[in-house]
């Protein structure tokens, strides 16, 4: 099972959001990383077939997804970045409605909804209006709707936004189990959410895929570039000015333990440590990049 993108581009009036991307997604969890404005959402919308590419095609097992129409959509689950819903829907009514649209058999719908609500710890708010739920709960309702039809292809744009740490752990475990023999594509800013569950990652920058690989393969490129050391806290400001400090932790005796990115040691006594996906993300997308406005 594969989802193949061939030279897809999306041009808006004054901007190319996605620029000639070719990528083949196979089964497993795929992390899609990129700063705001990198084109992740646009790419996901094209995969969801709710936005037509300016050029190029997307194929599912060799067939153009647009031509597959509802056959493709019946295999598909999607959680957009902004989860919209009708104000008057309760959680149960909404999921029943989506289940009907997804052609989930009526006799299975209640069972399926109860299962997902239980997994996503939403059973208590089943009869509440979605508009009355917290941001995290709304997000989980969004996740539930995407999974109602047991999709073969699941695309989620920032699924963990608004979830607390416990919910994020449960989400990760759930997705790991769910992803067998399925294509799951997740875009997130919270790199740790996909670091340990993503089979492969694709990194987007300025509308292009700049790298694809497993977490281990990707982080190799910054091996020897992640440093840690302890400095007096009075010097922190000075180092912050010239180094890319990605983490700092207060220690005893007015000392600060810092983690920084650099081609070479910049502070005496620094030692290299194993890079993580988040380090790569910050290496590729310095602050200035991910402060850009969204796509």
């Amino acid at each position: 099972m594969e989802l193949k993108m061939e030279h897809i581009s999306k041009k808006f009036k004054d901007k190319t959001a996605v620029d000639d991307i070719s990528l083949t997604l196979t089964t497993g969890v795929w992390g899609l990383l990129g700063a705001n404005g990198a084109g992740k959402t646009t790419l996901m919308r094209m995969i969801a077939d709710i936005m037509t590419p300016s050029s190029g095609n997307i194929y599912f097992d060799g067939t153009d997804i647009h031509k597959m129409g509802k056959d493709y959509r019946s295999l598909f689950g999607f959680l957009p970045q902004d989860f919209g819903y009708s104000r008057d829907f309760t959680v149960k009514d909404y999921l029943e409605y989506i289940a009907a649209l997804k052609d989930v058999p009526a006799r299975e719908t209640t069972k399926k909804i109860d299962y997902l609500l239980n997994i996503l710890t939403l059973s208590d708010v089943k009869r509440k209006k979605i508009s009355k739920l917290s941001g995290g709960m709304k997000r989980r309702v969004g996740i539930a709707q995407a999974m109602l039809n047991d999709p073969k292809i699941l695309v989620m744009d920032e699924p963990t936004a608004g979830l607390d740490p416990g919910e994020r752990v449960r989400f990760r475990n759930f997705i790991s189990e769910f992803s067998h023999d399925r294509i799951v594509l997740i875009s997130t800013h919270i790199v740790s959410d996909i670091e340990y569950i993503a089979t492969r990652n694709a990194i987007m920058k300025d509308g292009k895929i700049i790298d694809v690989g497993t977490t281990d393969e990707l982080v190799k490129q910054i091996e020897g570039k992640v440093w840690t050391c302890t400095i007096p806290d009075r010097d922190l400001g000075q180092y912050e000015m010239r180094l890319r400090i990605i983490n700092q932790r207060g220690e005893d005796n007015n000392q600060v333990s810092v983690r920084y990115l650099s081609d070479k040691s910049e502070i005496e006594g620094s030692t290299t440590i194993s890079p993580r996906l988040e380090d790569l993300y910050l290496w590729l997308f310095p602050q200035a990049d991910y402060e850009k406005e969204g796509n």
């Binding site: 969801a48 709710i50 037509t52 957009p80 989860f83 919209g84 009708s86 009514d93 029943e96 009907a100």
Partner: protein
Amino acid sequence: MRLFRLEVKRIMKSRRTLILFTVALLMSIVMAYLPISFESINQPGENGEVIELDGIPAIQFKKDYYEKTAGEITPQKLAEALRTYQSYVKEYGTLDDVPLDIYIENIMAIRPMLKGLTEAFADSKTGMAADLMDINPDEVEQSFYEKCASHLNDIMNLEQKGHSAAARFSATKYSNVNKPFLLYSGMSRDAFDYITLYIFILSILCIAIAAPIFANEYQTGSDSILRCTKYGRMKLAITRILTACCIFIVIFVLGMVIHLSIINLAFGTECLKTSFQMLFSIINLPNITLGQLQIILVLAGLLSVLASVSCTLFLSAKCKDSLTVLLISIVVLFLPMFTYSAFGGATWLSTILPSSGIGMQNNFLYQLYNFNFLHIGEMSFWTPHVILITAAIEMPVFLLLTVRSYCKHQTA
């Protein structure tokens, strides 16, 4: 069917729909009550004072009072009534000088019958109504209905000069009108005006319900999820349209049933046998009774409301926010009214829009009793026909465009 049921549930659970639905039903009662409350009549009391009856007592009094003159309006009956009228006016000088008790006892009952005479014997050149005192009762007895046809011909010559097709159409249609006319006391023109006004209110309410049906999904971004589902495109669009139309039909029918039930209960059902010509103009073309007029107004109103709502649904599938849809739809709804007033009569624009049958002067009822024709070359078209045909065409066209727009919509 499952999706249809869930869609009905979704719309009917919306607070906005529930409020508008309640308003529609309440207005049906208010709009029925108003013409009843307008009914009024003066009658002499025991000590010579004048007693004014209002509302239901006035209607009841009139029903009993006019019972003796009710029935077929034969030329003989008309001539006899005219002789009676002329004798009293001659005796007292003018109608205003006739004492109230004598007026009520002898003249008031025959006045509704005589109303048509002034029209039928109007000046052929100017169309000015004749004075009842100048009309010869013998002539009425001999040729009242021929005079009516002749007056229609005069009016067509005055109002549709150079459009022989319109004159021919009118003459043929009028020759098919059942004569003698029937007259039973009860329903006033106000009651019919309020039916059309209620239809106008219903159309505003239905448009307000229809405006967010698609646009709201675009606005909240929920369409991104819906259109990714198996049935989230054409089937969803068709289901939404069907659901909306069913809900509008239910609201409309329920509202009209309540409204007409109250009116008919108050005014009585016997007056529904009255010929259209006896309430409006003796030369009107529709060959219908007031009961049939009620049914026609309901059906034509429903068609116009559905055509207007179809236009709103199309706008809803096309525009990105429901407020814009609502504003444009209201403009489209009011446009026939404004153009009718601005141009001082029916124009193509005031007649071919989906809401052309709804409004004030332009509404379907007014078109039935006015002599408005639209012309293309030698051909002439009676405006009620144009309103019905264009609405019947526009409704499916707008609905098809709605489905197409929704399916083609691209997430921003």
